[in-house]
């Protein structure tokens, strides 16, 4: 089970990434197709959505089902999870960090939920193999089952929670048409609904709303920035993930435009992180110039989101030509149909796909997860 290299992602996404990578999938192709922005504010609570559909829905579109399970009785929950482990499949569970701290977790001294992966039962049923793929932890080791149960059933995180995943017997099918559809849909959302806080217009709206900070007292400003700080967290993962998605597509198609877009999203992610850091600092201590500092950084983000929009629409302007040539479909989410006419070599790619498909299918669990 690999550690995730997804910095700054929520632990649930990190655990999912490790799990899917282990299972032979390229996670970004499954869950990071969306490029989205929607800004709303209720009273003093600014909120940003960086995706249109839930994680469950996005996975479902790719034939993968996840079910979040909960049970108050740890023995019942354990019997269920141990069945899955005994069948040879990992399971993600939500554990209490304060109890994990006693074993390996770099602690914060308070209760909070954290997703870890259980990979098997060892020592004659006395220990469980734990993988914590999080970028701040990166731990592989064993824990006594009794300790694990304590961390799992903690009332501080509302009892036993775990995630069951049903993978398809065979990977799904993605083609070049899908690439164009994804980009088209994203452009429609980012450019079309100008009146509803959505897309590029929504970014403009946020830019003007930050002006309000200047007239707020420190407590209100701090609260506003606190909400913004929390809200942007998912955005960092979504922008980074979409950059990874575009990079993967680019590699499979040898399409330099997509590679450039992928790198652009990487830079965009960096800008969102800096924006979030500014929100954190502004929340912690009063700074007269914080509104202008945030606006300056957001203006840069807006400029870059606009550039991404322009690059995508330029690519789409060639869409019809692309589709006329490429109407093939291929097996596997983690390899991509070449887009002829954009510089790749069909023969080489076909051979690579054949080889990798055999290898990849062998690594995909055959859908025996409980659901």
């Amino acid at each position: 089970m690999p550690f995730s290299d997804c910095e700054y992602y929520p632990c649930e996404l990190v655990a999912l990434d490790s799990f899917l990578t282990y299972s032979g999938y390229d996670t970004p192709l499954l869950i990071h197709k969306e490029w989205h922005f929607r800004y709303t504010r209720l009273d003093n609570r600014p909120h940003i959505e960086f995706n249109r559909t839930s994680l469950e829905e996005r996975l479902k579109q790719s034939g993968i089902r996840i079910a979040r399970r909960h049970h108050p009785d740890v023995e019942f929950a354990w019997s269920r999870v141990s069945q899955i482990l005994n069948a040879g499949h990992p399971v993600a569970i939500l554990a209490d960090t304060l109890i994990l701290e006693q074993h390996y977790y770099p602690g914060r001294g308070h209760h909070s939920g954290h997703y870890i992966i259980l990979a098997g039962i060892e020592d004659g049923g006395e220990s469980v193999c734990v993988i914590d793929p999080s970028w701040i932890v990166r731990f592989k080791g064993k824990m006594p089952i009794s300790s694990l149960k304590s961390a799992w059933q903690s009332q501080a995180i509302s009892g036993c929670n775990w995630v069951e995943t049903l993978l398809p017997a065979a990977p799904g099918i993605i083609g070049s048409e899908d690439v164009c559809d994804v980009i088209t849909e994203n452009c429609e959302f980012m450019g079309k609904f100008a009146s509803d806080g959505i897309g590029i217009a929504g970014l403009y709206h946020l830019l003007t709303e930050i002006e309000l900070l200047q007239s707020m007292d420190q407590e209100t400003a701090s609260e506003f920035l606190g909400h913004l700080y929390e809200s942007v967290k998912t955005g960092v993962a979504e922008r980074d993930g979409h950059g990874r998605y575009l990079n993967l597509v680019s590699k499979q198609t040898d399409t330099s435009e997509l590679l450039r877009l992928g790198e652009h999203f990487k830079d965009l992610t960096n800008q969102w992180i800096i924006f979030r850091n500014l929100c954190l600092r502004g929340q912690k201590r009063a700074q007269k110039d914080m509104a202008s500092r945030l606006q300056k950084r957001l203006a840069r983000i807006l400029e870059m989101e606009n550039e991404a929009f322009a690059m995508m629409t330029e690519l789409l302007s060639r869409r019809q030509g692309i589709l006329n040539i490429a109407n093939q479909k291929m097996i596997g989410f983690n390899w991509w149909l070449t887009i002829p006419g954009l510089g790749s070599n069909l023969v080489d790619v076909s051979i690579a796909i054949h080889d990798r498909a055999s290898e990849g299918l062998g690594r995909v669990p055959s859908g025996v997860f409980l659901c």
């Binding site: 290299d5 960096n270 850091n277 912690k284």
Partner: protein
Amino acid sequence: MRNTQILDLTGHFNNDGISSDEDRTDGDFTGTGQTFPEEDLPPSNSRVTYSGVPFTFPDKSDGALNNISLEGQRLFVSKGYYERFFILGAADVTSLEDSLAVVSEQGMHHDLPLQLSSWRLGRNLKYGEIPAIRCSGFHFPSQHVNTERLDVTYGIWMQTILLPRIPITSILLPDNPGMHIFALTLEEEAA
């Protein structure tokens, strides 16, 4: 190594990123209360050398500001030609990229990339820095978190910035508070 000039950053320090085990509530490197363990770092105001580059390590004592959290500060340097400069620093929560400007006497700005890996090192330093100082972990107010059992270490890195062939008088830092500089040394250009 040619002649070097260690820049005195004391007047620019605006963040306390170091705490002793006796008082882990001192300082806040990340904005969420975490700090470098004083015990793992070089002595206060000591001369340290990494890969042949000398630096002055800042004051670690409780309450002392010991690094620049980048907020657009301007660092004045003796007017001259420099080959490159070296930074002892790190980004806090995650690795960051930005650009700084070196400024000539005429006020011309020349932008240069500035990249600093996170103080938390997982696999590799993201931007090719030299791992100058490695710590046993980090401090939370509640505890010294030892990360030696994990596949993660914490530290301060040495980054190199190559300079253009222009006489410079100052360095303008970006507004990027997640980036931190503990020490900076300039290397003069060959005569």
